[in-house]
């Protein structure tokens, strides 16, 4: 009788709970609070935080080979399936018009990747391995799916920490960009009104994803999974003849895979992998990466202005940290504070969407160099 009772008690999770599990629950509830009460990236942080919560119950086998979350993680993330599917949806909502009208902005999107490399080298100094440092650096690109993609490829054990860092800093873009931008620009530079953009024809918009694929995938073949899907989504939208595919890519498909992505990422955050000093370093380096990226864009914009006649407002360089369209909105706000007649939103969209491409290319370059 007593023996049976002990057996029943032992088969519950209660006695197998560890302090680590409890701390991870606290982390999960903290993220849930941010997502639900503060509106911080709720579409991602709600599934991620619940994934952390559920994966930290003992004896469930959710994350053991064959377990439910393991299946999401293994089939969706580890084999790099879901991030490219999200890129399909992103492509189907990205308007490349501002880039086509002002191709210089592509350079600014590339310049912001300086932040990625600055954080990469700093992480090396902190003693992270080359692969780990690359995954930490890519946080500065402010692109969640790319961060997860690269980490699945190079350092799966860091995935939980880097993706949570990327998504939470993305929500903090309105706090991170303004001090950096104000430090590096004068009020007069911020007040500068840019020349109105030329209209872009439908033909140009259809050709753009094809030309961009040609150039980027030939140069950095390892960026193909992300870029090819991104450009396909864009072609869906710009061709105008497959409205149903455009809609399903950016709505239903994206929403569905987001659930599996969030749960799978959250479930990687077990106490053993997450509760380490390196997690704290990742968060510190992540915010540095963001700041460096904004600074890189602004400085290159200022340098570019030395050589060109049609000058750009250096603020739009800060929009090169992808975080679409949040970074562009913050830049617009800064410009409008300096001069109410200054409407930078659409100008900032150029570096902003170019930043997405830039980060995907940087990830491809890391994979090529490190593998």
């Amino acid at each position: 009788m007593l023996e049976q009772l002990t057996e029943v008690i032992n088969s519950t999770g209660l006695l197998s709970l560890t302090p680590g599990n409890l701390i991870m629950w606290a982390v999960a509830f903290g993220l849930m609070y941010l997502a639900i009460k503060k509106g911080v990236e709720p579409l991602l942080l709600v599934p991620i935080s619940f994934g952390i919560f559920a994966a930290n119950f003992p004896l469930t086998g959710l994350m053991e080979p064959g377990g439910l979350y393991y299946l999401f993680f293994h089939n969706g993330i580890q084999n790099e399936l879901i991030p490219p599917l999200i890129f399909l949806g992103l492509g189907a909502m990205t308007d490349f018009g501002p880039v086509i009208a002002n191709p210089k902005t592509l350079l600014l999107g590339a310049a912001a990747q300086l932040g990625v490399y600055a954080a990469f080298f700093t992480a090396l100094l902190f003693g992270f391995s080359v692969a780990e440092a690359a995954v930490i650096g890519i946080i500065g690109g402010a692109d969640g799916p790319t961060t997860i993609f690269l980490s699945a490829n190079l350092a799966p054990h860091l995935m939980g920490a880097v993706s949570v860092a990327a998504y939470s800093y993305m929500a903090l873009v309105p706090l991170i960009i303004p001090p950096v931008a104000k430090l590096l620009t004068t009020p007069r530079e911020r007040a500068m009104v840019m020349k109105q953009m030329r209209p872009v024809s439908k033909g140009e918009k259809i050709l753009f994803p094809l030309l961009a694929s040609l150039v980027i995938i030939l140069l950095v073949p390892k960026s193909a999974p992300l870029i090819a899907m991104f450009m396909l989504g864009n072609l869906f939208m710009e061709s105008g003849v497959v409205q149903r595919l455009t809609d399903v890519s950016r709505n239903e498909l994206m929403n569905i895979v987001t659930i599996f992505l969030g749960l799978g990422v959250g479930a990687t955050m077990s106490a053993e992998t997450f509760l380490k000093p390196q997690t704290i370093y990742i968060f510190i380096l992540g915010v540095l990466a963001f700041a460096f990226a904004a600074a890189g864009g602004i400085l290159i914009a200022k340098i570019m202005n030395l050589f060109t006649t049609n000058k750009v407002n250096p603020l739009i360089g800060a929009a090169g940290v992808s975080a679409v369209p949040m970074a562009a909105r913050v830049v617009h706000q800064l410009g409008s504070e300096a001069n109410p007649q200054n409407y930078l939103l659409m100008h900032a969209m150029g570096p902003n969407v170019a930043g997405v491409i830039g980060t995907a290319v940087a990830a491809g370059a890391f994979i090529t160099a490190i593998h």
Binding site: P325, A328, H332, S336, P340, Y343, L345, M346, M349
Partner: protein, 71 residues
């Protein structure tokens, strides 16, 4: 000489925040548009009296659209 107030970018006109006959100063907000899911205030390019309102809330506006004129 009437000064046209155009939309600075493509967007949806949410509201015109002044009435015909209102006195506005340069850099006063006169209208609100929505672009990239963000409300963008449009500020008067010059001081004057609102002469005519030429667009309605809900209209899609672009840089060629005159929202209102000032005199």
């Amino acid at each position: 000489m009437a000064t046209p107030v155009n939309s600075p970018m493509v967007g949806k006109l949410i509201s015109v925040d002044v009435k015909v006959g209102d006195q506005v100063k340069e850099n006063d907000p006169v209208a609100t548009i929505e672009a990239m899911k963000m409300y963008v205030k449009i500020y008067a390019p010059a001081s004057g009296v609102v002469k005519e309102i030429k667009a309605n809330a809900g209209d899609v506006v672009n840089p060629d659209t005159v929202i209102l004129t000032l005199e």
